[in-house]
């Protein structure tokens, strides 16, 4: 008897839950883990202002793409932009939402000054060809530092990751040998080093292990007050990672609405551009116009000064204004605004 009672109660609770779910007050999204803290912060403020709830599952970019093509969410989020042909084939729309940068973090014993790297030396380190910190390729970029003759431990991501996709895309871009030997993607066959799970895993391991080098999202390096290297960019200038240099990279990028904004902004030509930069993207369905319009309303609100301020606070770079205007025109063109 007791079992039946609890069964009925459970049924009633489930039923109430199902009825209470109103589709006009909630937005469901899934995808990239990198912008999750920001989308969460935006959603909180947006809910306070407009009374609309946003549920975002940070399951990874690949999962976000799968869920939006499967139609189980209102929007997907992916660090990797999908090529135009795929966007067309799947009946989707895509735009960049916010910019992030990847930095090379290091832990070199006895070196307190700022390390500078360029594409060739970064490529050599991650290929395992540059084995010691006092290698000529590193010394020539850092004449002021006394680098130890210590073997370098390379730390990379062990899980499939958009961060890895952007980083390997950059290495392949600046270093043909990387392209030939390793290639690019969310997971690659690393020639050297050890893998750690997630940005936090890489960060933690670089901090623990003396004379190690890894790559993480800028925000993780900031939060952990880790040492990160300056890079020499395509224009030949040495730049520091900052929200300004990330936005500069995006401003120099070739964002084309006709190609659904598919592009890479690694190694762009801007004088102040940080070379390892990427936008994280939002994907919506064309056949669910009402839901997609509400998604656009949310992300348009996030483009305002208020949204930008929140982004900067959490170490994400807002899109440059010119690019925001192009995104808004794209929304209007496809009837989402």
């Amino acid at each position: 008897m007791r079992i039946w009672k609890s069964f009925l109660i459970a049924l009633a609770v489930l039923g109430a839950g199902a009825c209470g779910r109103s589709s006009n007050n909630t937005l469901n999204g899934a995808g990239a883990t990198f912008p999750f803290p920001l989308y969460g912060a935006w959603a909180h403020r947006y809910n306070a202002e407009k009374g609309i709830q946003l549920n975002y599952q940070s399951i990874g970019s690949g999962g976000g793409v799968k869920q939006i093509t499967g139609g189980t969410v209102d929007f997907g989020a992916s660090d990797d932009a999908l090529p135009a042909a795929e966007i067309e084939a799947q009946g989707l729309l895509q735009w960049p939402q916010v910019i992030g940068g990847i930095v090379v973090v290091y832990n070199v014993s006895g070196v307190s000054g700022q390390l500078t790297l360029d594409g060739a030396s970064a490529c050599g380190i991650f290929l395992g060809e540059i084995k010691n910190f006092d290698d000529a390729a590193i010394r020539v970029l850092n004449p002021g530092l006394s680098l130890p003759s210590a073997p370098i431990t390379v730390v990379h991501r062990s899980d499939g990751s958009g961060t890895t996709a952007v980083f390997t895309h950059y290495l392949a871009d600046v270093c043909p040998r990387w392209q030939n030997q390793v290639g690019q993607g969310k997971a690659v066959n690393w020639p050297t080093g050890i893998g750690a799970k997630g940005n936090e895993g890489v960060m933690n391991y670089v901090r623990q292990q003396a004379n190690s080098v890894g790559y993480v999202e800028f925000a993780y390096a900031k939060q952990n007050s880790a040492s990160y290297a300056n890079m020499r960019n395509r224009a030949g200038k040495v730049v520091s990672p900052s929200l300004e240099s990330f936005s500069a990279a995006a401003a120099a990028g070739s964002y084309d609405p006709a190609a659904h904004f598919y592009t890479w902004i690694t190694n762009t030509g801007g004088a102040q551009a940080w070379p390892i930069t990427a936008a994280t993207n939002i994907l919506v369905r064309r056949d669910k116009l009402e839901a997609s319009k509400r998604v656009v309303a949310f992300f348009d609100w996030a483009f305002t000064a208020e949204g930008d301020a929140q982004a900067r606070e959490l170490v994400y770079a807002p899109l440059p204004d010119s690019l925001k205007e192009r995104v808004r025109a794209y929304w209007r063109q496809h009837g989402l605004q």
Binding site: G60, S158, D159, G185, V188, N189, I194
Partner: protein
């Protein structure tokens, strides 16, 4: 009245039969899904998949050997470390500890089994890995690292994120399974037999060795098999401390990968069909590997039971 009872019995029999058959349906269903989804990888790589240690998603080349090897090594090492400790725990709790200690010790063991694996993983990364890399691994390297042949197992830089650390964590995780099953098996030894052994002047050690252990051999072995299943299937804890590197390495101080870790790390972001299919192929191999191990264990038990004339 009698008819009523007949119906009740029938219903009871039907219910239990349905339960038993549902297991078969599940297993067949899992195999069907795994085979169906791995068809593309099976077509592309064939049996070569099992012996190739190349895992290169960027170039669409996949092989299972490195992951299989990692699963095998970590599970074996974990058993080697966990079984003696677990048996010690079980013997202490059942035979040696004073009565008032048995309850708390028993509960403590079972509590250990209830800790989620992600906690073990985080603890492994933040606490155990530094201890391993700075204290335990250098000590091992200096003491037995110079021996011929065996020394190769302990060569290389001590980084704490490697096969050895992963095996240690696994062994801690499976200890409660072996220990509590062994304890239950030991408790089944008839007290009369033990008492008669004591009566003819056997020491405590002799009673354990010659009476309790032989009596409960099969029960303990069953516990070991369950622990092996857990060790092969454990994912999160290992993922944190293994370094996920697809290669076959003799040194235990090197990063490696296991099948489950590869699946957990790469499934979400596997973007090509062949990549996804290869991951399913890996899962199928793990399924077959586990099945064969368990089947072999069963066979072993029934063989030795027959030899002893038991049923």
């Amino acid at each position: 009245m009698r008819i009523n009872r007949g119906i009740k019995d029938l219903a009871f029999a039907a219910l239990t039969a349905a339960g038993a058959f549902s297991i078969v349906v599940f297993v067949v269903g899992i195999v069907a899904v795994l085979v169906g989804n791995s068809a593309e990888a099976i077509r592309t790589f064939g049996p070569g998949f099992i012996v190739s240690d190349v895992w290169d998603p960027a170039h669409q080349k996949f092989g299972a050997a490195a992951s299989l090897y990692g699963s095998f090594i970590t599970a074996t090492l974990a058993l080697l470390m966990a079984v003696p400790v677990s048996l010690g725990i079980a013997i202490f709790v059942t035979e040696i500890a004073p009565g008032f200690l048995r309850g708390p010790f028993g509960s403590a063991i079972e509590l250990l089994a209830a800790i989620p694996s992600i906690i073990y993983g985080m603890w492994g990364l933040f606490t155990l890995a530094p201890i391993m890399s700075q204290i335990i691994e250098p000590a091992l390297q200096q003491s037995i690292g110079s021996f011929p042949i065996v020394g190769a197992l302990f060569s290389g830089a001590t980084r704490g994120v490697d096969l050895f650390t992963a095996s240690v964590i696994l062994s801690i995780m499976i200890t409660p399974f072996v220990a509590s099953i062994a304890r239950d098996a030991f408790l089944l030894t008839p007290p009369e037999v033990k008492e008669s052994a004591y009566a003819v002047g056997a020491t405590q050690w002799e009673v354990v060795r010659d009476v309790v252990v032989p009596y409960s051999k099969f029960g303990v072995f069953g516990g070991v098999v369950i622990a092996l299943g857990r060790a092969l299937g454990e994912t999160m804890a290992v993922a944190f401390v293994l370094g996920n590197k697809h290669w076959i390495t003799l040194s235990l101080f090197e990063a490696a990968s296991t099948i489950t870790v590869t699946l957990a790390n790469e499934f979400n972001e596997a973007d090509s069909d062949l990549y996804l299919s290869s991951l399913f192929f890996l899962a199928l191999l793990l399924f077959a590997f586990s099945f064969l191990t368990l089947a072999a264990a069963r066979l072993l038990i029934s063989r030795s039971r027959q030899r002893r004339g038991e049923k």
